[in-house]
Amino acid sequence: MAQAVLEFRDVLKRYGDYTAVDRVSFALAPGEFFTLLGPSGCGKTTTLRLAAGLEEPDDGEIVLSGNPIAAPRRGILVPPDKRRMGMVFQSYAIWPHMTVFENVAFPLRVRGESAGALKKKVLDALELVGLGGFEARGATSLSGGQQQRVALARALSYTPAVLLLDEPLSNLDAKLREQMRFELRALQRRLNLTVLYVTHDQSEAMTLSDRIAVMRQGKIEQLGNPVDIYERPATAFVGDFLGRTVVLDGALKKTGDRLFLEFAGGERLSVGENHNGKFADGEAIRIVCRPEDVRILAAGPVAPTEITARVNEVAYLGDHLEYTVGACGRSIIVVAGKHERYPAGAEIRLAFDPARLTLLHIES
């Protein structure tokens, strides 16, 4: 990997007794779209603000292209205006007393750009976000989506080292959000921008990011590409946060190379062979998988990768059906296509794919 554009090394931020960012480390490669994903209060926005220089870290180092920009132990703190960042705020922060042109021109004026180059760059940036011809408009007369584009143009009018985006799509309506998401990704690819993106919306994170860091209580819970994180969540929290999950608890039983999960009722489920060594015989284990990876079969002989279940409720959702089923003493939700139907009360089998199961130690 080429030198990281932005790197966090063990960064710590406290507010009094509360630790907002707890020794977080990650690095952004050039041209990477990196997302901090997590519920509100998990420290993702604070992390972004640390990168922007709007908060001072209490410990650790933040490094921009090899140069430390915040390192409290060495007494280094580069103020936000010297960091060459571009930032889009959740509220857009469009200056109401300036026109669209003046808003976008601001970062260039600060840098003493000559009048001719400034005008060209501003118009280019506005063209880029699809706001050509809006330059003379008052900033406050724009719609939410247009303000969002102005904020983006302002962040891009000069060439920022890193583009920081703080939930930029959360104030838009659903349709516009989808469109802006697509445009944002295309723009990032075209300009090869390095982006640090903050969101609590997992589908936004999945579709936009090269890599995702899922945060919880100030810590990075898992860092990886979207497929990894969705398919192989490192913790139950990550699995749950990224979508609906099927969760079953039991005790691990080893029979030669093969591993089984034994449930309270004595039923067994084969969970594959690849977890040797990580788990001990008899240990309490939780399995996590996605509802769409569980198949529903009519009652019949039970294979090792299957368990029996009973349909409690059926919900018709148009393009698919959602079954609430009771299995191994738990109520779980699985989905199925609309062509195979089972009424409430029906006995069924649930077939698992051992390759798509995640085994976790049960946190005591």
Binding site: A2, Q3, V5, P30, G31, A52, G53, L54, E56, L64, S65, G66, N67, P68, I69, P72, G75, I76, L77, V78, P79, P80, D81, K82, R83, R84, M85, G86, M87, F89, S91, A93, W95, P96, H97, F106, P107, V110, R111, A151, R154, A155, Y158, T159, A161, L164, L191, N192, L193
Partner: protein, 572 residues
């Protein structure tokens, strides 16, 4: 774009911001706290100022053994409480009519109250003397002409006279300006929910609206009561001649003794501070946090009660009150200034401009005018510069000492002008500041700036709160230094508030008497003090002319600036 050169990191001490912050706190502690400390210390100093200090309890003993001292304190409370009751009742009624009914001409009534709010009180007191004086008051003269009446009917130099005049000056207009926005802000949704639930208008008023705004009304009452305690002008003109002293006039009286009894004055001031501290403590405990959280419905209320034909009656009542309490005295002030000898209508040429000519012919007048303008200009500029900074510091999330700073800025609400001046006077005398500040326009301006602290700070604080941190941070991340950001983003956005603060500080500086009364010298005498001196020397006609002139100056300024100047009431 893959490799980006970032200039070598400038090394910045992280604590730089902290330093500025503690600097601001220290400055305020000195400016606000030191006069009080000096006041307390000097109350134990039994030798006159500028002599070597000798400490003892003599001042306190003398202050308390003088029955007039505690009597003056008691009188302050009694007066403030007495006119608070009709004042609150009237202003609640007027504010309710303006904000919650379809009274005809409610916009006009609101404008007139706004105007009356800015009319300085000293000229009005003077006008009431012209109307009610037992010897030459017009209403008494007129009454005497009626059958079965001999001797004066009205006497303004009395307890009830003082109460009456207060209802014409600070007692009502100020509260209307505070209460109207509160009434307006009662969330429409709260009331609509009650209506839909089946309550009629009066049930809504009784069960929802009133309970919701009660804490705000109590807060206004408490603030008005404490403000009433510092009242000086009315009591000076109407109480002193007949021996009714409130503590502010008593302090003034002590300083006028020959030789000046500064010891007793500072002891009395200190007692009052203790009483105020107790009051402020209870006020905070009872009302803190309740003031605004309650009035948070969404949207302005559109639910107005329909008064039917009473809408004209209500208008007539409001206009009648404003006419009698504001325009009648202002009219007689004008009349007084153009009569050769006030009250003597039977003279061959009763009307003349001689007093205006005398006023403009008096060299002292021009010195005072210049002093006033200089003082007011310094006050306005300094108030805007200082309190915008303080407001910014209070809002900035980075400031750790914000609560302490904010408490200091509230102090002038409870420390009356004359006490603040007394403390400052001692501070000027006892420190090297003496040569610059003692008896100079700078010293007076400093006192006035301090006095403006609560309202101005809160106004700027509200403005910065409303802006939020994002606009500022967006500029910083865009590459603007703090100063560039302040110039291009914050300053233009808070400009309307800055103009308002400037105008109001200027106006208050022009009309204040109790704050400069202990600090001026013949060289730095402002117009308001000159007006006081004219009134005492029995030149009522010339005083009327000057009072009218000051009133006209302030009113003209407020009307010109009406676009910007709103009373800073939403923030109190």
């Amino acid at each position: 774009m893959t490799t980006i050169a970032v200039p070598a990191a400038p090394r910045i001490k992280i604590s730089r911001f902290r330093f500025g912050e503690y600097g601001a706190l220290l400055f305020f502690a000195v400016v606000m706290g030191l006069p009080v400390v000096f006041l307390l210390i000097s109350s134990f100093n039994i030798s006159p100022p500028s002599k070597e200090a000798v400490y003892g309890l003599d001042n306190w003993v003398r202050a308390f053994s003088d029955p007039g001292t505690l009597g003056a304190l008691w009188m302050s409370f009694l007066l403030s409480l007495t006119y608070l009751i009709p004042g609150m009742t009237l202003s609640i009624a007027i504010a309710w009519l303006i904000a919650r009914t379809d009274m005809t001409g409610r916009g006009l009534v609101e404008f007139l109250c706004w105007f009356a709010y800015f009319v300085p009180d000293f000229p009005l007191v003077l006008a009431w003397i012209l109307l009610l004086d037992p010897n030459f008051g017009f209403l008494n003269t007129a009454a005497k002409a009626m059958p079965f009446v001999d001797g004066p009917v009205f006497n303004p130099y009395s307890f009830w006279g003082i109460v009456w005049v207060h209802l014409s000056t600070g007692g009502v207009w100020f509260k209307v300006m505070l209460l109207t926005p509160i009434f307006r802000r009662v969330g429409a949704t709260l009331e609509e929910a009650a209506r839909v639930a089946g309550a009629n208008y009066f049930t809504v008023l009784r069960r929802v609206s009133l309970p919701v705004i009660m804490p705000a009304i109590l807060a206004v009452a408490a603030l008005s009561f404490i403000r009433g305690l510092e009242s000086f002008n009315t009591e000076l003109l109407l109480g002193t001649p007949v021996g009714i002293y409130v503590y502010a006039t008593r302090i003034y009286d002590y300083t006028r003794h020959e030789p000046a009894a500064y010891g007793e004055a500072t002891a009395l001031g200190s007692v009052f501070l203790v009483v105020l501290a107790i009051l402020a403590y209870f006020y905070q405990r009872r009302l803190k946090g309740k003031k605004f959280t309650v009035v948070t419905g969404q949207g302005y209320s559109t639910l107005r009660i329909k008064l039917g034909r009473w809408r004209y009656v209500a208008l007539a009542a409001c206009l009648g009150y404003i006419a009698v309490m504001m325009f009648l005295p202002l009219g007689f002030l004008m009349l007084g200034s153009v009569m050769r000898r006030y009250g003597f209508f039977h003279l061959r040429e009763p009307f003349s401009l001689i007093h205006w000519q005398n006023l403009f012919g008096d060299p002292i007048f021009f010195i005072a005018l210049k002093n006033s303008l200089v003082i007011a200009a310094i006050t306005a500029v300094a108030a805007v510069a200082l309190y915008s900074t303080v407001g910014y510091l209070l809002v900035s999330r980075k400031v750790k000492i914000a609560p302490a700073l904010e408490m200091l800025t509230w102090m002038p609400w409870v420390v009356p002008g004359i006490l603040m001046s007394l403390g400052l006077l001692w501070m000027f005398l006892a420190t090297p500041l003496r040569s610059v500040l003692y008896g100079s326009v700078w010293g007076i301006a400093l006192a006035l700036v301090i006095k403006e602290s609560p309202v101005c700070t809160q106004a700027f604080k509200a403005a910065f709160l409303q802006l939020g941190p994002d606009l500022e941070e967006a500029a910083r991340v865009s590459g603007a230094s703090w100063t560039y950001m302040y110039r291009k983003v914050l300053a233009p956005l808070v400009a309307p508030i800055a103009v308002t603060v400037g105008f109001i500080s200027f106006g208050n500086a022009l009309t204040s008497i109790s704050t400069p009364v202990l600090l001026y010298s013949p060289q730095s005498r402002p117009l308001a003090i000159l007006l006081m001196e004219y009134s005492f020397s029995g030149e009522v006609e010339r005083a009327a002319a000057l009072g009218l002139l000051i009133t006209a100056m302030v009113s003209a300024m407020m009307l010109v600036g009406r676009k910007f100047v709103r009373p800073l009431t939403g923030n109190l």
